[in-house]
């Protein structure tokens, strides 16, 4: 039963991974990528690693993919198709991919995997303790480093969004706009005056 589910998940993941790189429509590639990520979450669930599976779903499927879809929505039209790369580029990337694949396969087959007898469910409390422990096997340092990295990324995003140079420019633009507005209102007023006189 478990084997069957594993093979179904694996086939889905590989098929959608291939489809993701070969599809010529950008949003379809993103959806195939989403299937790969959900399949990975399924594998984590199968390993009884529920917390990591849920993280995979929230961060990758719910966060990263939604952001990618957002950017595709902003820049792509439905009729646009990606270009097919030139032949020599295709061959170079195929070669590089094969090299990477052989490296990964060699590592996996060289590694002596030990079969763990009883699988125990990793609870959220254990994950939390491991993340914050300062003892041996604790992850406090990488945890803190990543949080500093995320903070700097957030600050960077805010700085970019604010646009440093444009702040100085904007008052000038405003003044021009105000001048135009004043001129228009003056014109309107001068036009209005005779009308009122007629009314009187």
């Amino acid at each position: 039963m478990e084997k069957l589910i594993f093979y179904i998940l694996a086939v889905i993941m590989i098929a959608s991974a291939v489809a993701a790189v070969s599809s010529r429509k950008m949003l379809r590639s993103v959806v195939y990528l989403l299937f790969v990520l959900i399949g990975a979450a399924g594998l984590y669930f199968q390993m009884d690693y529920n917390f990591l599976a849920a993280i995979q779903l929230t961060v990758y499927a719910g966060g990263v993919v939604v952001l990618i879809i957002f950017s595709v929505l902003l820049i792509q039209h439905i009729e646009m198709e990606l270009e097919v790369a030139k032949k020599y580029r295709q061959s170079i990337s195929a070669l590089l991919c094969l090299m990477g694949l052989s490296l990964v396969l060699a590592t996996i087959y060289a590694h002596p995997f030990e079969a763990t007898g009883v699988t125990t469910t990793t609870t959220t409390a254990e994950v939390g303790r491991a993340l914050l422990s300062t003892e041996k096997g604790g992850f406090i340092l990488p945890f803190e480093v990543i949080s500093v990295l995320l903070l700097s990324a957030m600050i960077g995003a805010i700085v970019i969004a604010k646009g440093g140079n444009e702040i100085e420019k904007s008052p000038l633009e405003k003044i021009e706009a105000e001048k135009l507005l004043e001129e228009i209102t003056k014109e309107v007023e001068t036009e209005k005056v005779p009308e009122e006189n007629i009314g009187v």
């Binding site: 949003l27 929230t58 499927a61 939604v66 595709v72 929505l73 439905i78």
Partner: protein, 344 residues
């Protein structure tokens, strides 16, 4: 013959048959429940607007939405010619499958729970974050500007308000010390969490209801399908059964938000003051009663408040709800640390 009986044996022994039967029962029950939620919405709307509401089909119009569903099933499936057919057909399933998956983890009574996963609350948050992908895909692949604008608004809204839902639930998790929904209910045998956590719990509940209403794209946060601006928003181009999936998912999501609030804040299937502890099946009644009170609250919102603008929506989330929520989280941590909770 032998191979077939072998297969049946395999199905029974591995529990696949059980799973399939439970899934079928859940599907049927919640499809019907969704239909009656639609009816309830229309009745509540009529009540708020001093009308009678649907009252022709069946006794007091009880079969109105079932008739509507039959009509939707028998309708022709239309679509736009230049749509991206694959994504267009895929999108409704994202929405409906995620909302049905979320239902599996709720403990309706002590023994009626399909999937008691040890990260219950977090699983719900994770699953609900995928549903928005269906809306985004549906909006984009329809090749319609109104659908696209609706989808973009939905994305902005859901990503923002997910934070508030998550943090307000996290505030309550500090109190329970567990993410598992059945354990969260065990903890509440000494008082519902909204009583145990008093002030921060009430603030968390209010934020949760506001953010939950926004996450289900309901009024006053229904910019996604603002009728007066966008036609029908992201599902403008959908018809028949595919439209029905979106529609049903919206109502099931409302039920999920209310049921989660019931579980986390109001003791789930526990009866008030333990008055029906000797009758275990009464748990189902209490769970549904509490949930429907909250569903009514969400309908009350919908027919009372006017729709917000997009900038007001984002201001509300990022400048008010999120800071309040973060302070509230710290406050709850301090209260749990100093043992200031109210235990009955």
């Amino acid at each position: 013959m032998n191979s077939i009986s072998n297969m049946i044996d395999w199905f029974v022994s591995t529990g696949v048959l059980n799973m399939a039967m439970i899934a079928l029962i859940y599907l049927t029950v919640f499809a019907v429940l969704g239909l009656f939620l639609v009816l309830l919405e229309r009745k509540v709307a009529a009540w708020f607007q001093l009308r009678i509401g649907p009252n022709r089909v069946g006794y007091l119009g009880l079969f109105q939405t079932i008739a509507d569903a039959l009509k939707l099933v028998s309708k022709e499936l239309t679509g736009t010619v230049k749509a991206d057919k694959f994504l267009y057909n895929l999108a409704p399933y994202f929405v409906i499958v995620t909302s049905l998956m979320a239902l599996a983890v709720f403990p309706f009574t002590r023994d009626l729970q399909a999937f008691d996963i040890n990260i219950g609350v977090f699983f719900l948050v994770a699953i609900s974050s995928i549903g928005v992908i269906g809306i985004l895909l549906g909006g984009w692949s329809s090749n319609n500007k109104f659908a696209l604008i609706g989808a973009m608004r939905s994305g902005v809204q859901t990503i923002s308000y997910e934070l508030s839902v998550g943090i307000s639930l996290l505030t309550m998790v500090i109190l329970t010390g567990s993410l598992q929904l059945s354990e969260i209910i065990e903890v509440q045998k000494s008082g519902w969490l909204i009583v145990q956590g008093h002030i921060p719990a009430i603030i968390a509940f209010m934020i949760y209801m506001i953010a939950g209403t926004a996450e289900t794209n309901r009024a006053p946060f229904d910019m996604v399908e603002a009728e007066s601006e966008l036609g029908a928003g992201y599902h403008t181009e959908y018809s028949g059964m595919k439209f029905a999936y979106f529609f049903l998912a919206e109502f099931i999501n409302m039920f999920i938000i209310a049921a989660l609030a019931t579980t986390v804040f109001f003791g789930g299937w526990l009866s008030p003051f333990g008055i029906t502890d000797s009758l275990p099946w009464m748990g189902l009644f209490w769970f549904l009663a509490k949930t429907f009170v909250l569903v009514f609250l969400m309908m009350w919102f919908r027919w009372t408040f006017p729709r917000l603008r997009v900038d007001q929506l984002l201001t509300l989330e990022w400048k008010y709800l999120l800071p309040i929520n973060l302070v509230n989280l710290v406050l709850m941590a301090v209260i749990v640390w100093l043992n200031l909770t109210i235990q009955i």
